[in-house]
Symmetry: C2
Amino acid sequence: MMAKPCIPKGTRDFSVEEMAKRNYIFNTIKHVFGLYGFRQIETPAMETLQILMGKYGEEGDKLLFKVLNSGDFLSDVTETDLEERNLNRLSCRLCEKGLRYDLTVPFARFVVMHRNELTFPFKRYQIQPVWRADRPQKGRYREFYQCDADVVGSDSLLNEVELIQMIDEVFARFGIRVAIKLNNRKILSGIAEWIGAPDKIVDITVAIDKLDKIGLDKVNDELREKGLSEDAIARLQPVILLQGSNEEKLQVLRRELSASEVGLKGIDELEYILRKLSASSLRASLEIDLTLARGLNYYTGAILEVKALDVQIGSITGGGRYDNLTGVFGLTGVSGVGISFGADRIFDVLNQLDLYPKESMESTQVLFVNFGERECEVCLSHLARLRAAGIRAEIYPEAAKMKKQMGYADSTGVEYVALVGENEIAAEKITLKNMTTGEQSLFTIDEVIALFA
Amino acid sequence: MMAKPCIPKGTRDFSVEEMAKRNYIFNTIKHVFGLYGFRQIETPAMETLQILMGKYGEEGDKLLFKVLNSGDFLSDVTETDLEERNLNRLSCRLCEKGLRYDLTVPFARFVVMHRNELTFPFKRYQIQPVWRADRPQKGRYREFYQCDADVVGSDSLLNEVELIQMIDEVFARFGIRVAIKLNNRKILSGIAEWIGAPDKIVDITVAIDKLDKIGLDKVNDELREKGLSEDAIARLQPVILLQGSNEEKLQVLRRELSASEVGLKGIDELEYILRKLSASSLRASLEIDLTLARGLNYYTGAILEVKALDVQIGSITGGGRYDNLTGVFGLTGVSGVGISFGADRIFDVLNQLDLYPKESMESTQVLFVNFGERECEVCLSHLARLRAAGIRAEIYPEAAKMKKQMGYADSTGVEYVALVGENEIAAEKITLKNMTTGEQSLFTIDEVIALFA
């Protein structure tokens, strides 16, 4: 007999309960995407390694799952290759395909390949799994879903505005209270320019981020350690201590960065986005946060991140504007802006706060107990009526002991159990038992249907 | 510059139009599955090769996509392995995971692994891609979706009845006229037993299937070639010539197979299923078809297949009962019965017959033309109203030329274009242009909302 069956580490099975919750998450997000005019695409799980390699840094290349060539995978492998045992070279001979690592690179490839069929601005969303050969750990998986919406081919800041409205709408529907943090890459560039340290952006944002924890003196010490001049540190003080409302922050920045063209451009952008959003009564709070430094290697404008207010967890959504998504595949001048919902973390937050609506569980609404052949006939015609009315209904497939059938109803989360025995058949009624309250009463089939209307 | 980007052969990108159609197909099927008490699960794309190998025959093993071990994939490879260049042995050293080949084996693995958490009968459905290193050809892909529903842990024929009702309901919703063909493995076994040729089932069904094309004499010739005795062929005549209604067919079979216990059991099963279904007014026609011989290596009872009546295409759905799904993983005595919708073929049929409902395209219902900053403010507040009412609405993100904006509306399939210029703002109205008819009139925002209610 074979060993106990298992699944690859870092991967997961999703049970019916988990799938119902995940469907609730994805359906909610998809619905909101649709309301804003975004439409879905899908790309294959496998991409050629030519598309994938070199896009995620050296570390990323190592984390790609590569797919062994089918047929004679050794045909391109020479004796020398085998002798040298050079893993990189050999893997390129053995494999020409890999599993996608994210949705962004396949999307860029999609836009380039289909550019003549697409209408720009192209507003697409994509919800598919990605694979990374990361060391599995709590909350980090080797297979997980990404959930991205992007607009490409439009420089308009209205796109940023609408993406933020979408984020607000999604979390409002989930009932998760969030803060949306906003930054702009151009402001960071402006700051770096203004203090004469353009290569120190990350060091600066990391240091500022510690202000609450370690205090101003230690932040300044850290900046010194990172090699900033005393003059630069002195100039940075108003930015490090930036506080107050968004308006106040913008005012300080506008004053301090008055000599930086790119900095002022970033401030203008941020101001435009905030002004447009102020008219739209967001439920989320919206905060300028200069320490936000995600994706600095590709974001060129807005940078945003979403934090849940009632659960300790990292960012649950992020995004920003990038000016050259498709350049690497030979199509330049296509600007894009996008967001990505962290489905696994949202799942954790909804679980912790127990925010799933009862309907989202998609469990059976009426289960008919099976009393035997004759009763079953009657149940089948009732079932047809209920299903035609859109009610999820089933009959226990065998005339098993009552206890077993009720146990099934209990553990699958059935809402009502329907009993149709001789008496009910004679009276043309159905005894319906509410599985939550335990109450039970007699109904006609029409009354049962009306119950769920 | 890099080579023109491409995707692995046999794989596909799905455009927004194709995804909308696919979503329509999957959502329809999912909804019907739900009405019958089936619930969704998902399993990982990768399974261990231990789970996958040896389950699909020698040919199947070759068609598995294997995933190169991450890290030092040569660590288990000896000099001898390299020298021998034995592909099978080497691939097992280089790879311990593969992409799933179907949903059945992962489901069996799932049931065995989670048997203590599951309630039986377990009614699950699963809609996920599978991968096969088949030679790509028209209509055959290396990545395609399967769409399976199964009940495990119940011997009741009511499951067969409900699965057939589900099939009927799904195709009725699609508007595809179908014939559901039914057979029973036990009847085939009975026939083989009765003519004394138990190993000839496939030869017999293949020969009978040619009756219409080649005539009785040639069918009998073929049977002779396959090694059937004259006596066996003589006994087979009533079965080969089986015609008429399902009742007539069952009558003949019951007479001819009266000596075969297993044959009679199969006839009883088929009769039960047909009787139960006759009360439920199926829209599909239901036909006993003894030439149906799919999955003979694992089906043990009912076998079914669905043919589209108005399009020339192979079977678009299939299924049957298997009595030992999980035996290979060490859990015996779990009977199952299931069906699998052929999503790609259904997609082709719906395309050919042009049966997609207009709503299924999920295109934007109202697009606001962007006239500039001031008008845009007003549009944003209209957009909020429309979206709150569940209407898919967007604004063109830049104040581009009218022609460009209308072109966008045209090519993305927008239903109505909304024009809000100075006059409309003054009158608190919206000019709405119907993109199908070209008609345009003035509405208040409430009237626009009412239009879609």
